[in-house]
């Protein structure tokens, strides 16, 4: 059905860092998980110090370091991002993605990006077709993003699009995928909407179990039929659609092989799970990874509650701990959107 090389996530070999290098952003999207956009005073030398430390840690653990660099909007300070790209290339990071809103990508920036061999792709976001997207991300942002996609593709860069799916846009997943195919977008990623940060009031957007099943089933059907754009379905719950398909589904990476670093050095288990487990200006990543009581607790599948406790899919799922935390107030609770049991 699919070549093995499409299965790009290897939990055994990889350590994933989602690294927010700034809080500053030129947009104010309704559903953003950021709670504030204060431009931070983090200095380039501090970012470089963190970057070196993350590379050291991955090396120590014998893992390939994979980075998603983001913000806020990372291109609010292009000098910083290019210095970090230089560092990560020189430290032999395995792959680097940049998560950006795309609006600040000038021709000269795109041109410069092309030289980085470890830069796997640029990830932009759309929340549906034009009308829906612009209600969330601001007037004309759909067109601006499409322009950015076309420009990146013209320069031969790989582009992925992230869509955060809730009740408000669930019927636009496939229509958006079809639109993106016309613009040669390489990869399409969907993730569940979680009410937090800016969007903590928008609880009415949260998908029910039946709705998420419908969205994921349609995405899986599309994924089987076409590779344009390629849907990345390495997410919890997808295993329910076909537990035998190794190209879909993924165990929640929290506590296993991923961490999020915030601009002020705070470390979170996942960007969508806003529980601080340490700070890199106060201690080392090793101290956090080895000693955080939170991480030890969440690594232990026996601690999972509700439907996730003793579920046969624990080795390939574990539910989304961030969804459990946002909707149930307990990161160990059964995944409330899982349709396996009511």
């Amino acid at each position: 059905m699919l070549d093995d090389h499409l299965n790009e996530f290897n939990y055994e070999e990889e350590f994933y860092f989602q690294w927010h290098i700034t809080n500053g952003c030129n947009l104010r999207c309704k559903h953003c998980y950021h709670a504030d956009y204060l431009n931070d005073s983090v200095q380039l030398n501090q970012l470089l110090q963190i970057g070196n430390h993350l590379c050291d840690a991955a090396q120590k653990w014998g893992k390939k370091a994979s980075f998603s660099i983001t913000g806020g909007e990372p291109f609010t300070n292009p000098d910083n991002i290019f210095s970090l790209l230089e560092l990560l290339e020189s430290r032999d990071a395995d792959k680097i993605d940049i998560l950006t809103n795309g609006t600040l990508l000038t021709d000269s920036i795109i041109h410069k990006l092309k030289k980085y061999k470890k830069l796997r792709r640029l990830q932009l976001s759309l929340e549906g077709l034009k009308e829906t997207n612009d209600k969330i991300r601001g007037v004309n942002s759909y067109n601006r993003t499409i322009e950015a996609i076309d420009n990146l593709k013209k320069h031969g860069l790989i582009v992925s699009i992230m869509m955060t799916v809730g009740k408000h846009n669930m019927d636009e997943v496939i229509p958006l995928a079809e639109e993106l195919a016309k613009h040669d977008v390489d990869v399409f990623i969907i993730d569940r909407f979680i009410p937090e940060g800016q969007s903590s009031e928008l609880t009415e957007w949260v998908l029910s179990q039946e709705e998420i099943k419908k969205v994921y089933s349609r995405a899986y059907e599309y994924f089987i039929k076409t590779l344009k754009p390629r849907f990345l379905l390495y997410r919890t719950l997808f295993c329910l659609l076909n537990p035998d398909d190794p190209h879909i589904g993924a165990i929640c990476s929290v506590g296993n092989n991923a961490l999020t670093i915030m601009p002020n050095g705070d470390v979170l288990p996942c960007r969508r799970l806003p529980i601080k487990i340490g700070n890199l200006f106060e201690t080392t990543l090793y101290d956090i990874w080895y000693m955080s009581p939170f991480l030890w607790e969440i690594r232990n599948p026996e601690k999972l509650k509700g439907k996730c406790n003793h579920c046969e899919y624990i080795p390939i799922c574990r539910g989304c701990r961030a969804v459990a935390y946002a909707l149930q107030g307990d990161y160990l609770a059964g995944d409330p959107q899982c349709w396996k049991e009511k």
Binding site: D56, A57, K60, Y286, Y290, W296, K303
Partner: protein, 91 residues
């Protein structure tokens, strides 16, 4: 007699879910798997102790052959020191 002390940067962890024991150096990232006895010894080395004191504690804790405990403890302490888990000083 030589006294031994756990290094400041080393943290000990008992993972009760899997009943595993570890020593972690939070400065260098080095990590070591221990057995229950190794964990017991290192835990006691959060305060300085000499060989006799360690062996006495072990004998109080487990019914074992004194000579075997002595030999094993000396070997364990040498290995731990070599790997930067503990430091020693002559008192």
């Amino acid at each position: 007699m030589k006294k031994f002390l756990l290094n400041k940067q080393v943290r000990l962890k008992h993972d009760d879910a899997n009943d595993k024991f570890y020593a972690f150096c939070v400065e260098t990232g080095d990590h070591f798997t221990l057995n229950k006895t190794g964990y017991f010894i290192l835990n006691h080395l959060k305060e300085e102790k000499n060989l006799n004191e360690i062996v006495t504690l072990l004998l109080e804790e487990m019914i074992v052959d004194k000579q075997a405990v002595l030999t094993d403890t000396i070997h364990f302490l040498e290995l731990s020191e070599k790997n930067g888990i503990i430091a020693s000083k002559n008192s």
